[in-house]
Symmetry: C2
Subunit: 354 residues, 2 copies
């Protein structure tokens, strides 16, 4: 097993460090894991003028899995689009063909009170959003800005091939089969031909999964239903652009975005694992960031890339026991939290509990 | 003053009837208003095979304002895209150049408990979303589906000219000037050139509105922030596609979507006024639909098209007094509602209070 460690910017290095401490425990038990670090995002830009240097991409391709921290920060905000730290994550997805993004939106019982939503609406929430990552308007050609003021024009192309749609829908159906057996496919078929094709293909594939109940929902209605009654969803599958918006909305429903992991998988089980949250430049360097999304992302890695659900279960249990013991970083502090824990205190609690 | 009445499908005719009763009171007081009805949506398709017949479009263009009910229903779901009832609303926007969609998301104090969100997060919420309606991926060329299975490909084009972006941003700034003087422009500039141009133009225009504080937010973050802390927003301005998703999300935060009106304005103050909710086929024909969004849409018409804020204020006060008297249709019923009111009971209460 070889893991690439790409810590990135902001709180990235601080939280990744705690995940590595947990990994070291597993190594101490005899698990064979090789790790190798590389620069990515703003850190790589500072060192090499490129947010995704050749060596980093090569390492990501060689490794079985990439454990990714977070990228970005205000000092890079004025860079042109192709130099920005986010470029690294877009290029990694495309170059490594990490097309299937699994983003859970889970309310942890220990943090039930943290949501903006009423407990009767969100308690027990457990949604999995499956977002396509390598196509759509993110990558479609042609794209650009033409003309001079006052006659400028901007354009981008939403584009999906049948092959791209088919493989993400299969990922959606399979994810639903392994969970609650309900799949909601989200599109805007009443306006966009691209998503009309998406819906057609979903209906064509459905008979291959007789045990999964397939429904369709328009993206605007889905944005509403996530607020009105989020527990109606089991698995949601959608394109890159809609998935970006809906998965962020869904994760915020839980009130514990500092807790949520994600996986981005290729067709062979390789994957990139990262927290849903960003690089949080405002608290970087203070040692107070919540490392649990990063640690749980490593848990997803053991499940999806290495097929070791025993280890992912242990990691998840260890995280819950740290929460149950009342440990809280500031982002998830409750009224009864006396003093928020530091990043390393949380890491230590997980290390002990594992 | 000439108003086109396009009732449409489902509950459309039932709720529009109540708005017309309120209009009749104003006529009784001497207000000169001419009205003319026409078919639209599924009803027009049934009669003429076209969701927006020539005569209906002509009437909409002649009139000063269009009071629109709702369109669509399950019996039209299998029609091809160009025959579907929604086509009428898209074509009306484009043909009449109704480019500026104003969609308030307001929590009515009388209904404070109806939201999925905790009262401490949403009480007093008062956001105005300004959405562009005539450009973006809704109308961009080229678009379509090519090839045969298994090699089909779908594509659509996001496209905005500088002129289109400029005029909707001015609408956003002016809306903010008349309200809380804060404008949040929403884009996805880190991925899409079209919205990079959008952000550039927003920054170029800003100095013309020194009294308005302009901020920028990425669409995925905005979808989150609307859940986390919606009261941070005053006016949000964005494109057609993002506006579709975010305005639906925002309206659902209020818990009273049956109450929310909208305006779609051209450059000269003509406009189309419709409830934010749809045609609700499940309750159509039962006389139990909430007519208040339709009545409040008429209120917006008096304000924006006819400059009669005195009348729009009276309409809003009459609506509030009906609510304060405890009248509730089923969609906004609270625990203390003994028997939900019918559509016409609510209409009668507003007629009496005006
Ligand atoms: C950083 C950005 C390019 C990225 C995206 O839009 O996909 C992020 O928002 C995400 O969801 O991972
Ligand atoms: C019916 C549909 C075409 C329309 C849109 O997407 O604009 C609707 O969702 C709206 O927001 O008015």
């Amino acid at each position: 097993m070889k893991i690439a460690l790409l810590a990135g910017d902001g709180i990235g290095p601080e939280i990744l460090r705690e995940a590595v401490r947990v990994l070291d425990v597993l190594r101490g038990e005899g698990l064979k894991i090789e790790t190798e670090e590389a620069l990515v995002g703003g850190a790589a830009y500072d060192a090499h003028g490129d947010p995704l240097p050749e060596a980093t991409l090569k390492l990501a391709k060689q490794a079985d899995a990439v454990l990714f921290g977070a990228v970005g920060g205000p000092k890079y905000d004025t860079l042109v689009r192709n130099k920005r730290p986010e470029r690294a994550i877009l290029d990694l997805r495309k170059e490594c063909d990490f097309f299937a993004n699994l983003r859970p939106a889970t309310v942890f019982p220990e943090l039930a009170d943290a949501s903006s939503l009423k407990p009767e609406i969100v308690s027990g929430l457990d949604i999995m959003i499956v977002r396509e990552l390598t196509g759509d308007i993110y990558f479609g050609q042609p794209r650009g800005i033409t003309g001079d003021a006052p006659n400028r024009e901007g354009f981008n192309t939403m584009r999906y091939t049948e092959a791209q749609i088919t493989r993400i829908l299969h990922a959606g159906f399979k994810t639903a089969q392994a969970r609650g057996k309900r799949l909601c496919s989200v599109d805007k078929m009443n306006v966009l031909e691209t998503t009309q094709l998406w819906r057609d293909i979903a209906m064509e594939i459905a008979p291959q999964y007789p045990d999964v109940e397939l429904t369709h929902m328009l993206v605007d209605n889905c944005a509403m239903q996530l607020v009105r009654n989020p527990r109606q969803f089991d698995v949601v599958v959608t394109g890159n652009m809609f998935g970006d918006i809906l998965s962020d909305e869904a994760s915020m429903l839980t009130g514990s975005i500092g807790m949520l992991p994600s996986a981005s998988l290729d067709a062979n089980g390789k994957g990139l694992y990262e927290p849903i949250h960003g690089s949080a430049p405002d608290i970087a360097g203070k040692g107070i960031a919540n490392p649990l999304a990063q640690i749980l992302s490593m848990g997803m890695m053991f499940k999806y890339t290495f097929g070791r659900t025993d280890i992912s279960d242990r990691i998840e249990k260890a995280v819950r026991s740290a929460l149950a013991a009342g440990l809280r970083t500031a982002d998830i502090a409750s009224k009864t939290t006396k003093k928020p824990s530091t990043t390393s205190e949380i890491g230590t609690a997980v290390v002990k509990a594992i």
